[in-house]
Symmetry: C2
Subunit: 206 residues, 2 copies
DNA sequence: ATTGTTTCATAACATTGTTCTATAACTGCG
DNA sequence: CGCAGTTATAGAACAATGTTATGAAACAAT
């Protein structure tokens, strides 16, 4: 209250810049390989900024994951209106385009960093958890419900079907990401056939 | 040829002990958290042993992954004879019992270490790759073929069906491992329903 | 015993996440 | 206008960890 002091440089703009830079570096090199010093240099600041804005590497990565979830969710939202298969294809597209980030979000690699929860800033607080996964599933749940209304999907439990679909797609994508290049498989065709099979499996019984 | 020297202590017995110890530690703490010094201490030796026997942390983890694949493969082999659903349940059982190791094998986390291929010792050489995944799928492929013979599964491409099944199960398991506790889902029931749906999807068409 | 050779535990090194500290940048007042 | 007060930040110091280098230990041959 007495007197104001040195003006703030570690502001929201820098925070956003660091998020962008980190997302890029993580996508390029993976979360382990990227160092705080690199991130700081790329953002034109010092490692202190990461500590004052996020709290540490763990929280920075958490914030990046949250950032990723928003992008992924938006992508699913759009595709969700175009039906079940479109949602599946959009899922794969996003995952292949965000390789390392996808693994960080869904691969459980985040657990390696989980321990010190941040106080909960406007955005970065709280560890990425199932809540976000369920959030991200909302468009898929919507698509399943719509398909039921159209009679394409039978009257099974919606959450169960959605999770089954999600797991199917996630499994294919993570298999493709992890071992795709070294497996003699036509992933496009497999993906297509699998989506159809998934729908077939939950079609109304005659 | 001139003269023999100090007797070898870094032998195959120690190698095996280090493999066991590392597998345990990795399963308990994950591959990032476990340190070479801890491993060496737990094995009653020094970090040098890891370098002379494996080449480094990367190759040690690769060897552990290979070790894991053998165990997993054996488990699948047994279950494969009992049918498709049994294979799926055995898959899940093994994965839940080997949490971190499973992620190391199938989660793509190994890529973080991939760079220096070892010369290829009797066992640890070569990075774990798609070959092992396909190997591990063999029992599943057998089960699918058997199910086709019984008329439970239709005349679709076997590899395609097997991969679809594998992805389905892998997706469920990794979702459960990563977010299971924080999602309000009855995983047992979901697993059961999903296995049935998978079989239904590829049933012979009328 | 001495020498030579090989093996291995330990010490030194480089990198990286994190914490500490001293300086920089500003305000308000004399 | 300068000086004290205050806060933010860059950079130094610290701790941990994978890796490499070094020198001592253990044995055979002479």
């Amino acid at each position: 209250m007495e007197s104001m002091a040195r003006p703030i440089v570690h502001d929201d703009a820098l925070r956003q810049r660091l998020l962008d830079v980190t997302a890029q570096l993580v996508d390029r090199e993976g979360p382990e390989k990227v160092t705080l010093r690199d991130i700081a240099a790329a953002g034109g600041t010092s490692t202190s900024a990461i500590y004052s804005l996020f709290g540490g590497k763990s929280q920075l990565l958490t914030a990046v994951v949250n950032y990723g979830f928003r992008s992924f969710h938006a992508s699913q939202e759009i595709a969700g209106k175009e039906g079940l298969k479109a949602t599946g294809w959009a899922y794969r597209k996003w995952a292949l385009e965000h390789d390392a980030l996808y693994r960080l979000m869904f691969g459980g690699a985040m657990d390696a960093y989980a321990e010190g929860r941040s106080a909960g800033g406007p955005d970065g607080g709280g560890l990425a958890d199932g809540g976000q996964t369920i959030d991200a599933m909302a468009p898929l749940i919507g698509a399943v419900t719509a398909a039921q209304a159209e009679g394409v999907i039978g009257p099974y439990n919606v959450m169960l079907i959605a999770t089954a679909f999600w797991a199917q797609v996630h499994g294919l994508v993570s298999l493709e990401l992890a071992r795709g290049a070294s497996m003699p498989i036509d992933w496009d065709a497999l993906y297509d056939a699998t989506l159809d099979a998934g729908i077939r499996a939950w079609a109304p019984r005659p």
